[in-house]
């Protein structure tokens, strides 16, 4: 890296920042003593800080470029995580440990902790569902939270009017989610990219506004209270035990989801989704029905949101439209993008990081969105593939005369 011009650029950037932040960082009107305070020290801090940040930024960028020049084939540059995941000796004990930890978690931690974990796991479900739509099929859906709301309200209302229990509501919520997925899918079949994002965003808001304003149907902003927690074979559980029970239910659903998404990804349908994401025109020319593939993706993605909604309603026992704002959609999208589009492990870790961290770093909760933003920009520049980038399955080549299944190590 050529040192001098780089330093000069950083210097100019810091000057620019000092200028920009001057009015807010330096000048303060003290209304009590009626004087203007000039805080020159702040200017120095901003200058030095932005100088170093800008230099660090440029340094990382140049290192990244050098890295790309050095090695052009991505396959050797697979992430550390995915390399670790290939190591059989490490993965089996690690998985066993993780499984044990997951199982005893609610017994060693408090109900409060378990409850936070449930929330995180609900987001894992949401992330995995949205991952089908955004990560695999490449359809930018900003209204995903609508299906989550559909699931939650399905349970809330069906329980209120007909006394339906959790286990009946779960498949109904999933089915309603799928139905709404298809309903949204039809009008947006021709759209892509930004246009799709805008329409889905609108759809999400429409659902929320309906729930907020149609008092006779959804009880408006006051929402639905006293939704029962799932009962254990007809027995009503205490809050503590109900939390533990829900925890296991969510863990179960998450595991099933992971298996299903993994299988889908590695199937004819999953490949069609990825092909659709990669090149819509070539995809059609290869004989894939675009409309059908898109609808499949929307419906399946929405199914999981519907289920997550039912679980959410059962966990909080109270729902109102405020839980289903556009921010939820954006957080779920962040989970998918940050975790690694199309990668199951990535989405799971993305959800855990993005949901658990703010819970434990309460001090920073005000800055949550700011930090999200910063992290996202950082990731887009330096790790566009996400924490765990999508690793495709590797097939071992045998001669064309083979009869057996080719052995794969993935």
């Amino acid at each position: 890296m050529n040192l001098f011009p780089e330093l000069r650029k950083s210097f100019i950037a810091s000057l620019w920042f000092m200028f920009l932040t001057f009015p807010i960082m330096v000048i303060r009107v003290n209304t009590i003593e009626n004087i203007v305070e000039w805080r020159w020290m702040n200017l120095v801090f901003v200058g030095i800080g932005s100088f170093f940040l800008s230099w660090l930024w440029r340094y990382l960028l140049s290192r990244k470029e050098m890295g790309v020049n050095k090695k052009t084939d991505d396959q050797d540059r697979t992430s550390l995580v995915s390399r670790l995941m290939k190591n059989k000796q490490l993965i089996i004990p690690a998985a066993a440990l993780l499984a044990i930890f997951t199982i005893i978690f609610p017994h060693i931690f408090s109900t409060y902790q378990t409850s936070i974990m449930i929330t995180a796991l609900i987001y894992v479900m949401l992330g995995l569902g949205l991952n089908i739509v955004v990560g695999l099929a490449g359809l930018l859906d900003l209204g995903y939270v609508a299906f989550y709301a559909v699931g939650a309200y399905a349970y809330g209302l069906l329980n209120y009017h007909f006394g339906l229990g959790f286990w009946t509501a779960l498949p109904v919520g999933a089915a309603l989610g799928a139905l709404f997925g298809i309903l949204l899918g039809f009008p947006v079949l021709r759209l892509r990219g930004d246009y799709l994002a805008i329409v889905t965003l609108g759809f999400g808001e429409i659902i929320r506004l309906i729930l907020e304003n149609w008092n006779e149907f959804s009880f408006g902003p006051s929402g639905i209270a006293n939704i029962p927690r799932p009962s254990f074979f007809g027995m009503d559980l205490s809050i503590q035990w109900a939390t533990v029970y829900i925890y296991y239910i969510v863990i179960g659903i998450c595991c099933i989801t992971i298996v299903i998404v993994g299988r889908l990804q590695d199937s004819r349908i999953g490949r069609a989704w990825i092909a659709l994401r990669e090149d819509e025109i070539a995809c059609q020319a290869m004989g894939i029905d675009k409309a059908r593939t898109k609808l499949n993706a929307f419906a399946l993605g929405a199914t999981w949101a519907g289920m997550a909604g039912v679980v959410f309603a059962a966990k909080t026992t109270f729902i109102n439209p405020a839980s289903f704002t556009i921010w939820e959609s954006i957080i779920i999208l962040c989970i998918v993008v940050l975790g690694g589009m199309g990668s199951v492990v990535g989405v799971v870790s993305g959800a855990l990081v993005l949901i658990l961290l703010p819970e434990y770093l309460r001090a920073f909760s005000e800055y949550r969105l700011l930090i999200f933003g910063a992290i996202l920009i950082f990731m887009m520049v330096f790790r566009p593939g996400g924490i765990v980038s999508d690793v495709r399955r590797v097939y071992r080549f045998e001669s064309s005369a083979m009869d057996d299944k080719p052995q794969e190590y993935s």
Partner: protein
Amino acid sequence: MKAVLEVKGLSKDFGGLRALNGLDLDVGEGEIVALIGPNGAGKTTFFNCITGMYEPTEGDIFISPTGNGNVKERLQGLKPNQVTAKGLARTFQNIRLFQNMTVLENVMIGRHCRTKAGIARAIFRFASQRREEREIVKKSFEIVEKLGLKQYVNEFAKNLPYGAQRRLEIARAMATQPFLLLLDEPAAGMNPHETDELDELIRKIRKDEGISILLIEHDMKLVMSLSDRIYVLDYGQKIAQGTPKEIKNNPVVIKAYLGEEIDA
């Protein structure tokens, strides 16, 4: 000889521009036919009309798949994926591979329209699905090997050298089991050695698989050596057709290629 593709009076307008004008063309069973013409003559537009990407303004397109007797089918109004399912497969002039999928997966996509496992079968992994999946992998391996892409099987398509990318486009099209292969400038960007290999490859495809081929190409050496018949297009109009020998000596064609006014 039976014609597998028969196009009658095909026209295509883009607003005021007539990109294709009353084009007649046919491809016989097992034939290699070339479509040539200066830049902007309408060759790619012709492919797009046949494969259902554009809707022709006028004209008829009939196909009669190999080994299907003399049944003629009309091709109009079908979506691109339906056309592919009928047995026409194409490659793209500006390479359109699935960049972030491996070579094998690209070819496996081609098998999509010949297989049918849906969501439920993918989730529950029934025996029928596993068998089908094995079949897809096996067939795709065979095609990859045949097209000389064996060394790249698990590489991402985007990391392939240019010539290999062009071959992968053909491999992917072959995986859809076509009776007619439409190749849009398959030799563009290839060096002479690669072009020679391509020449051999296309012959092999016809010989081994009995696939008929319609080829757009600017490389005259390749066109002259490969084709049974050649159609020449200029400003959307057919200006000549015939064997390579006839075309080579046709004054109209020479004029069109030298860019002079045509008065013939």
